[in-house]
């Protein structure tokens, strides 16, 4: 049900530019005003959220350790430097693998229950499907985003050209099919399928989980349609996009309506991004269980709101309370007076 709602939303979103551009002729509004405003909202929202996180204190250093720590004898007990980093550099590499290789997700296992002749068995097996789907999706998205730099930079940087060359290496079709285009659609469909089919994942999914998937699918499909089928005038598009970055706005008449659909969906994605779970993108780098070294027994970490007024129950009070039996038990006392029974004092 949540999936259907999300799909319906995205359909409605597609209709808006279709009518807006075709029927209402609001080409500048959809070609410039909306994407520029969306980009501004994206940047402000994104930065605001990251600043909110940054302003929140890190009172304790609590990395989740995933291996042997640095021992008193690192030769005898070899440290797992990536999963249990002790230094900043080791932590950096842990984060690098976390961000670029989804290392924690790679560890994923699936648990199953079996009744055997020897009794009940709980079994765990490696399960890398989610990792694979996620890698395919995110890297495709990443490559596509980089390729789009072609539209905003003049001259086009060499790595963008290189990326395009590699991405189109198979040279299937005309214009050449990009691998990342297939990857992103496949990745989204797999992630969506998982969410719909797996009862457990389905149970925890809201509209806000399906919506971004359908929205990005819409972005990808409209982009693919534009490139391979509608064959939008790329020169004109570049004139528009370069106009945006040089604050010299133009909307050439030769650009087809599919472009406006694509741009509108991207704009919705940009506006949606900072207010949604998509913020896991910067968030993964801010996670205190991953981005801190496991060194709190060796180095002092400061809690900015540590309350110096919280003190231990004083030993003097303890001795006052238990001094008599302590003395009887032969335990040493700081203040011998405490060892005297009340009646002796009298």
């Amino acid at each position: 049900m949540n999936a259907l709602y999300s799909l319906l939303f995205v359909f409605l979103l597609v209709l808006i530019p279709l009518f807006g551009v075709d029927a209402a002729h609001m080409r500048t509004f959809f070609g410039v005003c909306i994407p520029v405003s969306a980009f501004i909202i994206f940047i402000i929202g994104f930065v605001y959220k990251v600043i909110t996180w940054g302003r929140s204190a890190v009172p304790f250093r609590i990395p989740t350790t995933g291996g042997q720590f640095k021992s008193f004898d690192p030769k005898l007990f070899k440290q797992n430097k990536l999963d249990c980093p002790q230094t900043g550099a080791q932590t950096f590499f842990r984060m690098l693998l976390e961000v670029f290789a989804f290392r924690s997700l790679f560890r994923n296992t699936a648990t199953s229950l079996h009744e055997t002749k020897d009794g009940p068995v709980v079994a765990y097996k490696s399960s890398k499907w989610l990792w694979l789907f996620a890698i395919v999706f995110h890297y495709s998205f990443f490559i596509i985003a980089l390729r789009h730099l072609r539209l905003f930079l003049e001259p086009v940087p060499f790595f963008v050209n290189g990326l395009e060359f590699i991405d189109g290496l198979l040279q299937i079709g005309e214009p050449t099919m990009y691998l990342a285009d297939c990857g992103i659609v496949a990745g989204i469909l797999l992630l969506l399928g998982r969410r719909v089919i797996s009862p457990r994942i389905n149970y925890i999914s809201y509209v806000s989980d399906y919506f971004p998937l359908f929205l990005i699918l819409g972005v990808a499909l409209s982009g693919i349609y534009m490139r391979y089928y509608a064959k939008v005038d790329v020169i004109a598009v570049k004139a528009l996009t370069m106009g945006m970055v040089t604050f010299n706005y133009v909307v050439p008449e030769t650009i087809g309506v599919s472009f406006f659909v694509h741009v509108f969906l991207v704009s919705v994605l940009m506006v949606y991004f900072p207010f949604s779970k998509l913020m896991h993108m910067p968030g993964v780098m801010m996670s205190p269980t991953r981005n801190l070294p496991n060194d709190t027994r060796a180095k002092h970490h400061v809690n900015p709101w540590n309350d110096p007024n919280i003190k231990a129950h004083a030993y003097a009070d303890y001795e006052k309370q238990f001094g008599v039996p302590m003395a009887e038990a032969g335990l040493p006392l700081d203040n011998p007076e405490n060892g005297k029974a009340p009646e002796e004092e009298a």
């Binding site: 989740t64 457990r200 002092h300 038990a329 700081d334």
Partner: protein, 556 residues
């Protein structure tokens, strides 16, 4: 335990298919057995006098009844407390925002594996809070609550928190698998802090907390009684070994202060671990003392709020300073070491006296730089170093009747990284050592299902369900390798793993690591022992058991 189903039946009852109703619509079961007993009012009154403003009203109340006698302004208190913690703990703020509900954590929780209750999936446990975060603090959650899974704080929500945040042992296994490192232990700590503000508490946690503040240990053992118990243990050691070991208490001028959880002075099999420490230190002629004032290594305060954790922890340095000790040696305990390793220096490091120095083994001269700030060393680090330098005369054949496996406690594994040292120690004193299956040990270890103050008997079925993954792994090595002993380095484990093993892998006993060490320790060349610390005959001496009289019966 009579109404708890047999292990096979319980196993069959586990269903991983979620219910037909959405989780927000599925009612919570408040029948007895699903919650821990609330704290006695006098414990809360005492704590409120020591740390005012953190505990809500002290009162009699019952989670099985409709009226939980919440204060009139409870909602305001919880929502404001939530807001305050968002800026005090980046973990909370980030973890509220970035979960994508990918479900990688779902089947990593021992309580989910053993119950199938979807609210025991870490993602959904955290959603219990996250839904409120979105509904109370975010624009999207306020205007589109249905679509974003948002809700506002209501009494039913709070009650649901009480059930499910006391069904999380803060073991952090989910956090290991989460692609963003979202740590449910952190969520649980926050939720418990908030619940304490409005007087929702459990006696199994609050009684130890108040005891610890008064007497220095969770069990409420007063100093003279503590001295008596230690004396009994010294007697027992003499019975077994013929040697009368030293057991210094509250003595000034020693180099080392030794602190271990009080669970080890109270009950089987912890006392054997404690006897193990005493024997090891006496063998080494170690310059150390114990303390009755700081007679607790564990910290049940860490299961309530950060203020109480700090207050209880502060005794360690305070006592080291009073007694003039240079560094602290810590016994085998799980959450104690999470607190010592990740919190202690941050909280109370500024109270360290100038006499304190980086731990240095007086026997081997090893300087433990990794403990330079906290000045506190784990006993298995200390012992492993002794073994490496061949400073201990060991006879592992004394443990030959034992086929041993090792249970990694959650906190040393995932909150510290102490994995190899205890294994090294055990392998030096046992000839038969077997690992449990991959995926159930080391950083992926499973909880005993009694951590974070849940080791109470009124929720025994929940504990046994949560104990399934550990119990089943244990049963596997029991069947495959005839394992008959599971060693651990945690005082809560030593209490909770016993019913767990009895239920899921009957026939396996539980031992602390230093019990094994002491049994293998040869005091003097040619020393012959006929029994172990449990006063059970060693291999080759079984016959003598027949005409042996327990020592306390000789006079009778």
């Amino acid at each position: 335990m009579s109404d708890i189903p047999k292990a096979d039946e319980l196993f069959k009852s586990i269903d991983y298919n979620p219910p037909a109703t959405g989780w927000m619509e599925t009612p919570v079961d408040f029948s007895p057995g699903n919650w821990c007993y609330p704290a006695k009012p006098e414990k809360m009154e005492y704590m409120d006098s020591k740390l005012p403003g953190l505990w809500g009203p002290a009162r009699e109340w019952n989670p099985g009844e409709m009226d939980w006698k919440l204060p009139a302004n409870w909602k305001e208190t919880v929502v404001n407390g939530f807001r305050e913690r968002l800026s005090k703990f980046r973990t909370l703020q980030v973890f509220m925002d970035i979960c994508v509900r990918c479900g990688a954590c779902a089947d990593k929780c021992h309580y989910f594996i053993g119950s199938g209750d979807p609210k025991n999936m870490p993602v959904l446990r955290a959603e219990l809070m996250r839904s409120v975060y979105r509904g109370e603090f975010t624009l999207a959650g306020k205007i589109m609550s249905k679509f974003t899974g948002s809700r506002v704080m209501e009494e039913d929500v709070l009650k649901e928190w009480f059930i499910y945040f006391y069904q999380c042992t803060q073991c952090r296994r989910c956090s290991l698998f989460c692609p963003y490192g979202i740590d449910t232990a952190e969520m649980t700590m926050m939720a418990r802090e908030l619940m304490h503000l409005v007087g929702l508490n459990t006696n199994w946690i609050m009684e130890p907390v108040s005891n610890c503040n008064i007497t220095g240990n969770h069990l409420g053992i007063q100093p003279h009684a503590f001295a008596d118990i230690v004396e009994f243990m010294v007697d027992d050691i003499e019975e077994v070994t013929g040697r009368r070991v030293k057991a210094p208490l509250n003595e000034k001028g020693h180099e080392i202060l030794f602190i271990t959880p009080s669970g080890d002075v109270f009950a089987d099999p912890g006392i054997y671990t404690f006897m193990g420490y005493l024997m090891l230190f006496d063998y080494l002629d170690l310059d150390y003392t114990m303390s009755t004032y700081a007679s607790e290594g564990g910290n049940f305060g860490s299961f309530t709020n950060n203020e109480t954790m700090k207050k209880l922890n502060a005794k360690m340095y305070a006592e080291a300073n009073r007694l003039g000790c240079k560094w602290i040696l810590g016994g085998e305990c799980g959450h104690m070491w999470r607190v010592v390793h990740q919190y202690m220096d941050t909280m109370t490091g500024d109270t360290q006296g100038s006499q304190m120095t980086t731990p240095k083994s007086p026997i081997t001269g090893t300087v433990f730089d990794t403990a330079a700030a906290t000045k506190m060393l784990h006993i298995t680090e200390f012992t492993a170093d002794l073994m490496k330098h061949k400073k201990l005369n060991l006879d592992p054949s004394r443990n030959d009747h034992l086929r041993v496996t090792f249970h990694d406690s959650c906190n040393p594994a995932r909150g510290m990284g102490l994995l190899e040292e205890p294994r090294y120690v055990i392998k030096n004193v046992c000839n038969n050592y077997f690992e449990m299956p991959e995926g159930t040990t080391r950083e992926q270890t499973f909880c005993c299902a009694g951590g974070s103050g849940l080791n109470t008997d009124e929720i025994m079925e929940i504990r046994l369900r949560g104990g399934l993954p550990r119990g089943n792994a244990l049963r596997y090595v029991q069947q495959k390798h005839d394992v008959n002993v599971m060693a651990c380095i945690c005082a809560i484990d030593r209490a909770t793993l016993i019913p767990l093993a009895d239920y899921w892998a009957p026939g396996v006993t539980i031992t602390g690591t230093h019990e094994l060490v002491a049994n293998a320790l040869v005091f003097e060349e040619g020393e012959e022992r006929t029994m172990d610390l449990r006063q059970e005959p060693l291999p080759g001496y079984e016959d003598e058991d027949d005409n042996w009289t327990p020592p306390n019966m000789e006079d009778a």
